[in-house]
């Protein structure tokens, strides 16, 4: 709250100074400035959100209405594309998407929590080196590793399975999970842990009865973000699976149906985006916290 208050006071003193100089009434200047800022903010937010709103709108149109040259804002809504979506063999893909997302996210958290501990609370020597290694794996072009992954997976009979997607998503999300969980763990006040250690609590005890409960919000938002990235992942799905895959691949295959498909794509796109949008809205603030406070501080 304090930040906001100081900002307001800056604004007030600023306008006072200008008011004295320019002779304008101070409140008018201030009001114009904030109206301008608020307008800019709302316009840019609505522009960014517009394609999504437009997508939801189109999903309730018939293909003919959706394909008209002039965008139709008033029309008789139809639910046919949603009914069609559920009738078109989407369920195996839905189940696969949920499986891959849930399992890979759970394992990421299970591996990243102890790793974050070893990089913050009871830190190894030079934890920065390990952190740097983890994030550097995110910079390796995915294309440089996909061929061996494909070859090995085909030899192990893992092509076109959810198992290979789970493994690849683990590799994809683990660095993010470690980074985020570590920065949340670092925010736990050291005195609490020291006090527990002085009282003779073991590392296990401190970990499970003090750190873990305090970390719950951090774990939740880390898991949500990993789940979003796993749910949306397309590169591995496209290269390592064909028929037994996740929702992004289902959507891609949808395209081969019919001449007009805008409204149908919009309906499926809306359906599959609902879970991630909700997860993203819940986790949005922690995304910044997790990414930033590890690096810029």
């Amino acid at each position: 709250m304090s930040t906001e208050l100081t900002q307001t006071s800056v604004l007030v003193t600023g306008s006072r100074r200008k008011a004295r100089r320019g002779g304008q009434p101070r409140s008018a200047r201030k009001r114009w400035a904030s109206v301008g800022m608020a307008t800019g903010a709302w316009v840019s937010s609505l522009v960014l959100f517009f394609p999504i709103a437009y997508m939801v709108l189109k999903s309730f149109q018939t293909e003919q209405v959706a394909a008209s040259a002039v965008p139709q804002l008033i029309f008789a809504p139809t639910f046919e594309h949603y009914i069609e979506a559920f009738d078109s063999g989407i369920w195996p893909f839905v189940i696969n998407s949920f499986l891959v997302t849930a399992i890979s996210t759970l394992v990421v958290i299970a591996l990243a929590l102890p790793a974050a501990w070893a990089l913050s609370v009871r830190a190894i020597q030079n934890p920065q080196d390990s952190l740097f290694f983890f994030i550097s794996t995110k910079m390796m072009p995915i294309a440089a590793g996909i061929i061996p992954v494909y070859v090995v997976a085909s030899q192990l009979g893992l092509l076109n399975t959810t198992a290979i997607l789970i493994i690849m998503h683990l590799g994809m999300n683990l660095p993010l999970g470690i980074w985020m969980l570590r920065s949340f763990m670092q925010e736990i006040p050291g005195e609490i842990l020291e006090a527990a250690a002085v009282d003779g609590a073991s590392s296990w005890r401190i970990g499970f009865s003090i750190v873990l409960p305090l970390m719950r919000p951090g774990i939740a938002s880390t898991a949500l973000l990993c789940a979003v990235f796993s749910w949306n992942e397309y590169f591995y799905a496209a290269n390592l699976t064909t028929t037994n895959s996740t929702l992004p691949l289902f959507l891609q295959k949808f395209l081969s149906f019919g001449e007009l498909y805008t409204a149908q794509v919009a309906a499926v796109a809306t359906l599959v985006s609902i879970p991630v949008i909700i997860a993203g809205w819940i986790a949005q603030k922690s995304l910044v916290r997790g990414l930033l406070f590890g690096a810029v501080k």
């Binding site: 709250m1 930040t3 906001e4 100081t6 800056v10 600023g14 100074r17 608020a38 903010a41 709302w42 840019s44 960014l48 959100f49 394609p51 437009y54 997508m55 040259a69 002039v70 990243a112 102890p114 070893a118 913050s120 009871r122 190894i124 020597q125 920065q128 983890f134 994030i135 550097s136 794996t137 910079m139 072009p141 294309a143 440089a144 996909i146 061929i147 061996p148 992954v149 494909y150 493994i167 050291g190 979003v228 590169f235 290269n239 959507l251 891609q252 805008t262 794509v265 796109a269 809306t270 599959v272 985006s273 991630v276 809205w281 949005q284 910044v288 990414l291 930033l292 810029v296 501080k297």
Partner: protein, 318 residues
Amino acid sequence: MSTTLASQADETTEVVGIEPIASPPMTRAEKWKRRGPLLPALVFTLLLTQIPFLLTLIFSFQRWRLLGAGEAEFNWGQNYVNVVQDGVFWRSVLNTVVMTGGTTIACLVLGLLIAIFLNHAFPGRGLARTLAITPFFVMPVAVTLFWKSAMFDPSFGLFGFISKSLGLPAVSWLSEQPMAALIILLTWRFVPFAMLILIAGLQSAPQDQLEAAQMDGAGLIGRFRHVTLPHLRPFIELAALLLAMNLIQTFGEIALLTAGGPAYATTNITYYVYLTAFNSFDFGQASALGIVALILTIALILPMLRLLSGIFKTEGRR
């Protein structure tokens, strides 16, 4: 929402993280005890990232076509000669640079502008921010397909309608301006990400310095240039690094929007490796491409990597 945001910004300055408790030199046993919890994640990541890399390196020195006759055999670096002489490859490098650079810059400029707007209190700020962040979370494949038909299509896309309403000829975006179309779509998706990081930066701007500058008579622009912008620098750098890291890997948008075309106009390195491996089934050649891509990526990102390790070092000294 604004309250939590502000308090969050306070935490940056007030909450001191746990100092690594490493004052006395550790015994061997103690060192391994501390490494223990890290090992599963470390070993897994090493296996999953380093082994494929080594295998790619081996494959890249082999003649190995799935459709051709014969076994894979060592071919004395012929694949690398082919890569260097391949005009399409250099085209894909240029495309990668244009796509990554263009989108990163657009995201930073627009993201900073929107962050400045959203950093001030106004009615419904939480809602506006939430709406603005949404493009980053929606399924990329889903929105790409939607943009392809509902936005970029020359006959019934929204962009066509807008240009016709303005009396301009409708642009067939995907065949005439495919790169611009991709950059527009990618910018839309990644602006929210840049915005989030830069809002956090603005929230933690040093208020005392801003006030001091004001006392000294600095105007709004002066304060922004001399106080806010230097403070924002690490945030801008981090945003640039994370954006470039993501954008250099762009695959789905290209595959679905333009399929790399027309005539390789939007094929980036990632997509070219994919085409070589899974359309031409030339695994040896594709592996060499992957290795060259890795070297180029490191060359492109290394300056930014240094920066990041610099940030880490500073944090270590804290």
